[in-house]
């Protein structure tokens, strides 16, 4: 179980970032005090537009960055106090984490297995399974730099999951993938759920959230606007489908801003 309580993340903007964002403000509140719980063995989706704070939330959960306020606990381990334990229990998949293109899939996977304190036998069996599942086996001794984009992405997944973690955090899982690879990834997410894993994903695509997620949290401008199963959200917002519900919440938010 994952508990996020009052999570806040404020970034201090560099002068360059202030220029890019066209703002005079020195601070950017990316996540503004959010709470949610992810239960064991469910697929939880954070749905929101670009810049809503999804990636920031997931990065805090995976201990890559430190919250400015609030707490996150993963299976009872605090992300700030016990980051090593948290990291050994979860996998964080995102397109921003890259693998050194010089090495082969075989070496890279073994290396990350060892970073996860796995012994050689365990690495071997897990690697064979994942390589076969994702079709990496024929390329295991090919330099990563020479792999196709799709194969690189599959290898990233293999490497992230080498330690067979109980919690999988996936930032925009299908973003930038071709239809075939995207389908393979979503199928695998369902397979992971079938294996008993807990999955948190972020997406800005309604159909991904609708199809995959057991529960959805709609996040906008650093705040959670609605949370629950698809039916619960539709009931709460009084709309027929997720897209309408989403835009209703979105316009409410904007009106709220205009009023203020």
């Amino acid at each position: 179980m994952i508990e996020v309580k009052g999570l806040r993340k404020v970034f201090q903007l560099s002068r360059k970032q202030m220029k890019v964002n066209n703002t005079e403000e020195k601070y950017k509140v990316a996540v503004d005090g959010i709470d949610f719980i992810v239960y064991d063995n469910e697929i939880f989706g954070l749905l929101g537009p670009n810049g809503a704070g999804k990636t920031t939330t997931l990065r805090c959960m995976s201990t890559l960055i430190v919250p400015s306020g609030g707490t996150i606990s993963v299976n009872g381990h605090d992300c700030v106090k016990d980051p090593l334990e948290v990291r050994s229990q979860l996998a964080f998949l995102t397109s921003e984490l890259k693998l050194d293109t010089h090495f082969t899939p075989d070496y890279t996977t073994r290396f990350f297995g060892k970073l996860h304190n796995m012994d050689n036998n365990k690495i071997e069996t897990r690697m064979e399974y994942l390589f076969d599942y994702f079709g990496v086996t024929p390329f295991r001794y090919t330099k990563i730099g020479d792999l196709s984009t799709g194969m690189k992405q599959k290898l990233s997944i293999v490497v992230s999951l080498i330690h067979d973690p109980g919690v999988i955090i996936f930032d925009e899982p299908t973003n930038g993938l071709d239809i075939i690879t995207a389908k393979a990834v979503t199928d695998y997410l369902l397979e992971l759920k079938a294996q008993g894993k807990t999955i948190i994903l972020s997406t800005h695509m309604m159909h991904v959230a609708e199809k995959l997620c057991d529960r959805i949290g709609i996040i906008m401008d650093g705040k959670i606007k609605a949370i629950g199963t698809l039916d619960e959200i539709l009931y709460m917002v009084k709309e027929k489908n997720l897209e309408d519900a989403f835009f209703k919440l979105y316009h409410q938010g904007n009106r709220g801003e205009l009023d203020a």
Binding site: R59, I65, V66, R87, L99, D100, F103, N117, V159
Partner: protein, 401 residues
């Protein structure tokens, strides 16, 4: 912990040594280019010296007395060809390098020499061009030649050559004990500079790539989400970088050694050199290695810290270049500075390592100085490691976005 440290270090080394491009650019090219550059320098300088030595001085003279013509003729390397140039013509010819020396005697030079008691001293005017090597060489030659003429003349006047000898001087070298002999002095002052620069240069490129480069490419972040202590990631990188620095320094130094048959005349103080002259006692070698390792620790950790602060390879290059300059300046200061190692200098890190190396190579190695430099090196390295350690916990440093 040690296991994880070595795991990271091994991966870093594998990254470097299985990459043909890196091996060529970081180890082979420096070695080959250093060997070629120093050999060429030695060969060119040697050629130039040979050429000047074998050059026949073209002398132009006016009123050259027969006695002196005789002396000149006996010198195979001087050719008194023209004897009718005016001073202004000669100046022009000197400037254009057509002649190397112009000499003009008083018309009644011989008479005045014979009639020396009248006090009317004859005048010789010599002209050369400070712009031309042949001419500078000719100036020495003609002066020496005229000096020998003075001796002959004086001997004639006094009647006995022994009268002008005045005294006989015998100067000898003291016997320097084996342990204080050191290696060739030219090499002793050159080696610390070379070793220091080679270590820094060797660690620089790969250090920037393995830290700033990994940050920039996003491969560092992949390691940050595994349950390894972040300090071990940077520690492993620093450890492997030290190995790289030592290997790169050795290969560059091999380049110097390869060039020695040709470059000995520029490095060695005696102009000739044999490898046996580099021999050191094992104690001295130990002290030398300690100073060298001290430099490796400091340079590698400084490079690591600067590469961590930078967000891109380009930025890291900009931060590290000034440090490289300081390393070069301290090297040249040590090479050209007097070997006076006054108290304060002994405590300046890096510089004291260089002084220590120089002293060891000159046969004056001191355990105290080696210890002081070892301790200051360890101090600087620890401070840098401490900074690196606290930087790696900062999210702006390890995960800028």
């Amino acid at each position: 912990m040690l296991k994880s440290l070595l795991l990271v270090a091994r991966k870093e080394l594998r990254r470097v040594f299985t990459d043909k491009r890196l091996v060529i650019t970081s180890f082979l090219l420096p070695m080959i280019s250093i060997a070629i550059i120093y050999s060429l320098m030695g060969i060119m300088i040697g050629r130039a010296e040979e050429d000047i030595k074998s050059h026949i001085t073209r002398l132009s003279g006016i009123n050259v007395p027969l006695v002196i013509q005789e002396i000149i003729r006996s010198d195979q390397t001087i050719d008194l060809s023209t004897q009718n140039m005016s001073t202004s013509e000669a100046e022009k010819a000197l400037l254009e390098g057509e002649i190397d020396y112009y000499i003009e005697f008083d018309e009644d030079f011989d008479l005045k020499i014979v009639d020396f008691q009248s006090g009317d001293i004859p005048i010789i005017k010599g002209l050369y061009s400070p712009k031309h090597d042949y001419s500078i060489q000719a100036n020495y030659k003609i002066n020496a030649l005229m000096e020998s003429y003075r001796h002959i003349t004086l001997a004639n006047r006094l009647g006995d050559e022994a009268y002008i000898q005045v005294y006989e001087m015998e100067s000898g070298e003291i016997n320097i004990p084996q342990e204080n002999r050191g290696i060739d002095r030219g090499f002793a002052s050159m080696i610390p500079l070379l070793v220091s620069i080679f270590i820094f240069a060797g660690a620089m490129g790969i250090g920037i790539d393995s830290i700033a480069g990994e940050k920039e490419r996003g491969t560092m972040a992949s390691m940050l989400i595994t349950p390894i202590d972040r300090a071990l990631i940077i520690g492993g990188k620093i450890l492997s970088l030290s190995v790289v620095a030592l290997i790169s320094m050795s290969s560059s130094f091999m380049g110097v050694l390869i060039s020695i048959p040709f470059s000995a005349r520029i490095f060695s103080s005696t102009g000739s050199f044999e490898f046996s002259q580099l021999a050191m006692s094992s104690g001295d070698l130990g002290l030398f290695l300690i100073s060298m390792i001290g430099l490796v620790g400091m340079y590698v950790s400084v490079i690591a810290v600067l590469s961590m602060i930078a967000n891109s390879v380009k930025e890291a290059g900009a931060y590290i270049t000034p440090a490289y300059m300081l390393v070069m300046i301290s090297g040249f200061m040590n090479m050209f500075g007097s070997s006076d190692s006054s108290r304060i200098f002994q405590y300046i890190p890096i510089y004291n390592n260089l002084i220590s190396m120089n002293k060891i190579l000159s046969g004056d190695g001191s355990i105290t100085l080696s210890l002081i430099s070892l301790l200051t090196s360890i101090g600087v390295t620890l401070i840098m490691l401490f900074i690196a350690r606290s930087l790696i916990e900062k999210e702006k440093i390890v995960f800028p976005s």
